[in-house]
Amino acid sequence: MTADAPRGADAPPELVQLLTPEGERVEHPDYDIELTAEEVRSLYRDLVLVRRIDLEAVALQRQGELGIWASLLGQEAAQIGSGRALTDADMAFPTYREHGVAWCRDVDPVKLLGLFRGVSNGGWDPVEHNFHLYTIVIGSQALHAVGYAMGIQRDGAEAATIVYFGDGATSQGDVNESFIWASVFNAPIVFFCQNNQWAISEPLEKQTKIPLYKRASGFGFPGIRVDGNDVFACLAVTRRALQNAREGQGPTMIEAFTYRMGAHTTSDDPTRYRLADELEAWKLKDPIERVKAYLFKNQLADQEFFEKIDAEADALGKDVRSRCLALPDPPPRAIFDHVYAGAHSLLDEEREQYLTYLAGFER
C-alpha cells in the first residue's frame, strides 16, 4: 500500500494500452478494437485540431483576450478517445478542461473561449449537444451525471452518461457519493477520471495512496486504468464501458493515466512545484506523435495528409481567434436575465432601477 503513481516514464503494468508511444499497435486480451484507416485518420485530425484550438486559446489569454485558460495539452487522446466513443444519445458531463470532448460533441470552440473570456458562465446549449456546461466546483457534476443516468433508466432509453473529472476531484465527498448512488441504483454511467498526475500544485500522492482506478472496487463496480495518451485504448475501453452501462450492467470507472503537459491554467506557474525532467519523460509519450507514427509506419497517411491537417488546424486557429475577438460583451441587462425562469418581482425591480440608473449617465 504505497503510492503507486509513476509520474515518470514507466507505464504501470495494469495499464490498458493498444498503441505504444512509438506507434506500435499492441494486442490486449480484453479490449481490442478494429479501426479503419479512415477512422484513425479522423482521430488524428481530432487530436491535432483540438490541440490547435488549445494553443490558440493560450495565446489569446497571453494577449489579454481571455481572463484565464485551462489547457488540455497532453490530454487530447483521453478526451478524443472517450469523446468519440459516445453516441449522440449519450450525455456527457465535463469539468472545465474537456475542450476535446466538447469538440466531439460539436460545441463551437468559440463558446468555450467565451466562458474564459468572461462573456458568459456557460454559453452552449447542453441539450442540443448532449454536453453539459462546464462545472468549476470540483466534483459537483458527478452527482448531476448520476441523476441524469437515473433519468435515462426511468425513460427506458438506450443511452449512457459519462462524467469527466480529475485526479484531485476524487477526494471530494460529492464524487464518492456519486459512486454510491451509481452503484446502489445501477445507473448507466461511466466515471472518466483523467489522472493527469496533478491537482494544481499537488501531486497524486496527496489524493490517494493506491492507484485511482482501484477506488471503484470499494463501491462494487469495475475500475480500469487505461493509457490516457493512447487514443485507441481510450476509445476501446470507454466504448465498452458505455455499452455495458446501456445494457444495464451498471457503472464503470475509467482512470485515464495521462499528464498535464502545461500549467494548471494560464495563471499557474508549475516551475514552482515540479521538475522539468518529469515533463520531458512525458513528452516521449505524446498522444499525437504516436498516432502520426502509426499512420506513417503503416502507410495509412502520407505527408500530404499531415500537411492538409496542419493547414486545417491553422485555418481553424485563425477562425477561432477572429471570432473570439469579435465576441461582443453582453449588455448589462444580461446580469438579470435568466436568473429565474418566471417573473421575479425583486429582480425585476433591481433590473429596472439599474437600467434607469445607467441611462442617467447617457443624458
Binding site: S120, N121, G122, G123, D125, P126, V127, H132, L133, T135, V137, S140, A142, L143, H144, A145, V146, G147, Y148, A149, M150, G151, I152, R154, D155, G173, D174, E177, S178, I180, W181, V184, D337, H338, V339, Y340, A341, G342, H344, S345, L346, L347
Partner: protein, 324 residues
C-alpha cells in the same frame, strides 16, 4: 371540504402533483415505505412505485445533486431534507449548482427542483432538529424560498411549487404539522409569490411566516383584549418578497414588528426591517423591531421556550414600538 392536518395536506398536494405529471418524483431519506419521519410522503411509494418515490442513500449532497441531474433529464424531483439542521451537507449543491445553473445556461436549462425542509423548533427535539435556516437561502440568488403556515396553503403551495420551473426551497413548519383545517381540494390558492394579510388591523403591522404566523395571530388576539388592533401578515414567499403588501400596511399603521424563530442577527427580519424602512420612512412612528432567536445555536429543548419567540415577546416588541 376535507379536514386535514398540515402534514396530510402536503401529502394530498404531492399526490395530486404526481397524478397530474408523471415526471414528478419524490426522493429523500425514508420517504418510501416509512412515508417520511413526519409521514408527509405516506403511501406515495405504494401507489406510485419505487421509481417515482425514491429512498436514497443517506447523503444530502447526493440527494440534491442527483435531483439536479434528474431535472436536467426532464424530471421534477421533490426532495425531502429530513430535518432543517441536515440541509448543510447539501449547501454546496443548492448554492453553487441548483441556484446558478439556469443563469449559467442562459436560460436553456430549467431546474424545477423542490427542496422540502421541515423547519423550526418547539417539538422537544435534540440538536439540529429545530433550526430555521431560511436566511441562508433567501440570500442565495436563483432560488425561490417559500414557507407555508397552515393546511390550506400547504395544499396549494406544494402543488404550485412543483409546477414552478425555478428551484424552490419549501419550508414546512414542523410544530404545525398536526394543526388541522378544512381544505377545499378544488379551490385554487393565492399565487405562490404573494403575501396574505391574515388579520386586518390599524395600530401596528406584525409580519411572520411559517410557524410564527400562528403565534402572531394569538398575540394579536390577546392584544385585542387590551384594545390594540394588530394587523398580521403571513409572507408565504420570502424570495421574492411581496413588498407592496407590506408597504401598504405599514404606511397605514406606522408601526411594524417582524418575528421569526431564526437568530435575529443577519436574519431574514433584517431584510424586512431595512426594506420597509426604505419604503415607509416618512410613515414610521418607530423603527421596525425584530423578535427572533438569539445569536446562539438553538438551545437544548428544555430551554427552547425561552429561545422561541412567544406571544409575550412578540407583544413586548409591539409595546416597544409604541414607546417611540
Amino acid at each position: 371540504m376535507t379536514t386535514l392536518t398540515l402534514a396530510k395536506a402536503l401529502n394530498e398536494g404531492l399526490r395530486r402533483s404526481m397524478e397530474d405529471d408523471p415526471k414528478v418524483l419524490v426522493m429523500g431519506e425514508d420517504v418510501g415505505k416509512l412515508g417520511g419521519v413526519f409521514r408527509v410522503t405516506d403511501g406515495l411509494q405504494k401507489d406510485f412505485g419505487e421509481d417515482r418515490v425514491i429512498d436514497t442513500p443517506l447523503a444530502e449532497s447526493g440527494i440534491i445533486g442527483t435531483a439536479i441531474g434528474l431535472a436536467l433529464r426532464g424530471y421534477r424531483p421533490v426532495c425531502e431534507i429530513q430535518f432543517d439542521g441536515f440541509v448543510f451537507p447539501a449547501a454546496d449543491q443548492i448554492i453553487t449548482q441548483l441556484a446558478k445553473m439556469p443563469l449559467r445556461s442562459l436560460g436553456t436549462l430549467k431546474l424545477p427542483v423542490v427542496v422540502r425542509i421541515p423547519c423550526g423548533g418547539g417539538i422537544g427535539a435534540v440538536e439540529h432538529h429545530s433550526e430555521s435556516p431560511e436566511a441562508y437561502f433567501t440570500h442565495t440568488a436563483g432560488l425561490r424560498v417559500v414557507a407555508c403556515s397552515n393546511p390550506v396553503d400547504a395544499y396549494t403551495m406544494i402543488q404550485d411549487a412543483v409546477r414552478c420551473d425555478d428551484p424552490i426551497i419549501f419550508f414546512e413548519p414542523k410544530r404545525r404539522y398536526w394543526d388541522k383545517a378544512d381544505v377545499d381540494l378544488a379551490a385554487p390558492g393565492l399565487p405562490l409569490d404573494r403575501a396574505r394579510t391574515v388579520r386586518q388591523g390599524s395600530d401596528v403591522t406584525l409580519i411572520a411566516y411559517g410557524p410564527m404566523v400562528k403565534t402572531c395571530l394569538e398575540a394579536a388576539a390577546a392584544a385585542e383584549e387590551d384594545g390594540r388592533d394588530i394587523e398580521v401578515i403571513d409572507l408565504r414567499s420570502l424570495n421574492p418578497l411581496d413588498v407592496d403588501v407590506l408597504t401598504e400596511s405599514v404606511t397605514r399603521t406606522g408601526r411594524c414588528v417582524v418575528a421569526h424563530e431564526a437568530p435575529v442577527f443577519t436574519g431574514y427580519g433584517a431584510e424586512l426591517a431595512a426594506r420597509i424602512t426604505e419604503r415607509c420612512f416618512y410613515s414610521l412612528e418607530a423603527p421596525v423591531l425584530r423578535v427572533g432567536g438569539f445569536s446562539t445555536p438553538y438551545p437544548p429543548s428544555r430551554l427552547e421556550d425561552h429561545y422561541l419567540p412567544d406571544l409575550d415577546r412578540v407583544l413586548d416588541a409591539v409595546d416597544r414600538t409604541f414607546a417611540y
